[in-house]
């Protein structure tokens, strides 16, 4: 090992330390939800004792205690600020995080491994908001998420239509000519099939786009690259070799933003969920109401609910304060078995 290599490893470690510190601060913000007051001397003492016990010859107790007093101080500082959290599915850098930043950049995005965890966290009050993907122009409906939405009482308070631009990322200093393996999730790899073939790159499946970027940064496999968002490049300190490597450029994902509280601002789009009696013409009659009131529908989705029974998701243009929307919903209520206005909100279209 020469000095250059050692320095590279030092940088890699520093980067890991920073990431871990960030994760720790996120946990501190989450812990705040369970605490009546920020200061907890008992817990601090217990923590410092445990850390002292893990000291080594190079990391002596006094040194590590100094560092940890600083860390705990900063955690408390953050807890005192009134940060609101928004949960998304995936690792940091996932497109859900990109969508949440587009929707409101003041919120602190927190990663969750499953969409179910996102909704659960919002329901229990751990997070103020949650963002979930509902449909993609290439991949179609996000089935699992729609099933979750049937069974939740959360309100839709916003939506984001996000163009998915995939980037080829490497560790800084990688010679592009030496790249052989490219890690990403199967959908992203499929969307870049021609790009990979043209440059003789081998696709390697990974569980998540941002997860692949994270793995690249942490494990530094040789002759490798990842396909992920530009945000992942920033977060994991990777170099963007090429932007927009997807074969088709009409790649959009639509996300819904959910919250326990309803939307207080005026919206221009509504989402409803309803079910109808198992009888001829019941769905038709619902659609007829919207047609007669001249309301433009933007999405309709049927989700198997119980055997033979379907729930329908419907999005349409208009505000819940519009007379014609009020009239339509009154009429629809009479001819459906269940009806819930999930929310009226503004949809953000990202260019």
């Amino acid at each position: 090992m020469n000095l250059k290599k050692i320095r590279e490893n030092v940088e890699l470690l520093d980067f890991k330390i920073l990431k871990l510190l960030n994760d720790r601060m996120e946990l501190a913000l989450m812990a705040k939800r369970f605490k009546s007051q920020i200061e907890d001397k008992e817990r601090e003492k217990e923590l410092l004792e445990k850390i002292r016990r893990n000291s080594t010859r190079l990391i002596n107790g006094e040194f590590i205690e100094r560092i940890y007093i600083e860390i705990i101080e900063q955690s408390k500082n953050l807890q005192r600020k009134d940060y609101n959290l928004i949960a998304f599915q995936g690792e940091h850098g996932a497109y859900g995080e990109v969508a949440s930043r587009e929707w409101n950049s003041d919120l602190i995005p927190i990663p969750c491994s499953e969409s179910a965890e996102v909704l659960e966290g919002v329901e229990t009050g751990l997070y103020g908001y949650g963002v979930v993907p509902v449909e993609n122009t290439l991949g179609g409906v996000v089935g699992q998420v729609n099933e979750l939405l049937i069974n939740t009482d959360l309100n839709v308070v916003g939506a984001v239509e996000l163009p998915i631009h995939l980037c080829l990322l490497t560790l800084p200093g990688t010679d592009h000519r030496e790249i052989r393996a490219v890690y990403s999730d199967s959908q992203a790899l499929a969307q870049c099939r021609h790009f990979l073939a043209r440059n003789k790159l081998e696709p390697v499946q990974y569980y998540d786009t941002a997860g692949a970027a994270k793995m690249l940064a942490e494990r530094a496999p040789k002759a490798s690259a990842a396909i992920a968002s530009k945000l992942s490049a920033e977060l994991y300190n990777l170099e963007v070799i090429k932007e927009d490597i997807e074969d088709l450029d009409r790649n959009m994902t639509r996300f819904l933003v959910l919250s326990k509280e309803g939307n207080t601002e005026e919206g221009d789009k509504c989402s409803i969920i309803f079910s109808t009696e198992h009888k001829a013409g019941t769905l038709f009659r619902v659609l007829e109401v919207f047609a007669r009131q001249d309301i433009n529908l933007t999405r309709i989705e049927s989700i198997p609910h119980e055997p033979g029974n379907y729930a329908f998701f419907m999005d349409f243009m208009g505000s819940e304060r519009d007379d014609k929307v009020v009239r339509a919903l009154e009429e629809v209520e009479k001819i459906t078995s269940t009806l819930r206005l999930m929310g009226c909100y503004k949809e953000k279209k990202v260019v």
Binding site: H176, R177, F195, R198, K242
Partner: protein, 281 residues
């Protein structure tokens, strides 16, 4: 000229190759490609791109991989340079021409550029020619500085047989005993190529002469000789250019040249009309 199966004009068939790059047609009308010798920085490239676009250029040139006579000279920014060119295209809409020097870079350069250039020193680099024969981007094939017309057309044949039918020939001057100019621009090759091949041919008066004062007259002469376009080095600040600073044209001079080309173009239309009348008689 034997064995130029794909490069030569077929007997009696006068159809000429027209290559479309975005909305630019090479082989129809007169195309002007302009820009810096090397991509030195984002500011320098984008500023030059804006200036040449304003003056009426159709495409942007700029080198990211530079084959230099000395290993100690500036070798180009490589991949970073390609990213800058891509950005310059996004800003100005000008399609990009850039050189490739290494067969391993061919597919990558194609991801960023619209036309890939084979430089004079690589004209007979057959492994590189075979590689660019496989891609779907047009190839600008410069004439080797010591090459005959036949050798040059054979190199075009290498690319065409690979399956890439979009080759643009480019005369860039040859070595003679003359030293006042950097090379001797061989304009007689333009009508000669037109006699033998259906491929479009453009002229590089910047490398062809290496002297700023001679570039303008030779650009006009290239048009008069029947070339399909010119490729010319323009730098937003020639005195600070990292390569070829003596032949880099400042933007205002380039704008002047563009106006003169416009005037000459209408004269040439008239002259070509005369020719047609004569053959009718």
């Amino acid at each position: 000229m034997e064995n130029l199966k794909l490069t030569s004009l077929k007997g009696g068939d006068n159809r000429r190759t027209v290559i479309t790059v975005d909305n630019v047609k090479i082989g129809e009308g007169f195309v002007v490609i302009a820009g810096p010798c090397s991509v030195e920085s984002e500011e320098q490239t984008i500023e030059t791109a804006r200036k040449v676009k304003e003056a009426g250029a159709h495409m942007l040139r700029g080198g990211a991989f530079k084959p230099r006579s000395s290993p100690y000279a500036f070798q180009g920014l490589g991949l970073k340079g390609l990213k800058i060119l891509e950005k310059a295209k996004r800003e100005t809409g000008l399609p990009v021409v850039t050189e490739v020097t290494d067969p391993r870079d061919v597919s990558w350069v194609c991801e960023y550029a619209d036309v890939i250039q084979i430089g004079t020193r690589n004209m007979q680099n057959f492994s590189l020619l075979r590689e660019v024969g496989k891609v779907d981007k047009p190839v600008l094939l410069k004439r080797g500085m010591y090459s005959t017309l036949e050798e040059w057309l054979n190199c075009a044949e290498y690319v065409l047989t690979g399956g890439n039918l979009n080759v643009i020939l480019c005369e860039r001057g040859i070595r003679t005993f003359e030293t006042y100019t950097r090379n001797t621009l061989d304009l007689s090759i333009v009508p000669s190529v037109k006699e033998l091949s259906h491929l479009p041919i453009i002229v590089d008066p910047s490398h062809g002469t290496g002297r700023l004062s001679v570039i303008e007259p030779m650009s006009l002469a290239a048009m008069a000789a029947g070339a399909d376009g010119i490729i010319i080095e323009v730098h937003c600040n020639p005195r600070e250019a990292l390569s070829d600073k003596h032949q880099a044209m400042p933007p205002d001079m380039f704008a002047g040249l563009m106006r003169k080309l416009q005037v000459l173009r209408s004269y040439m239309k008239e002259i070509n009309q005369c020719k047609k009348v004569k053959t009718l008689e």
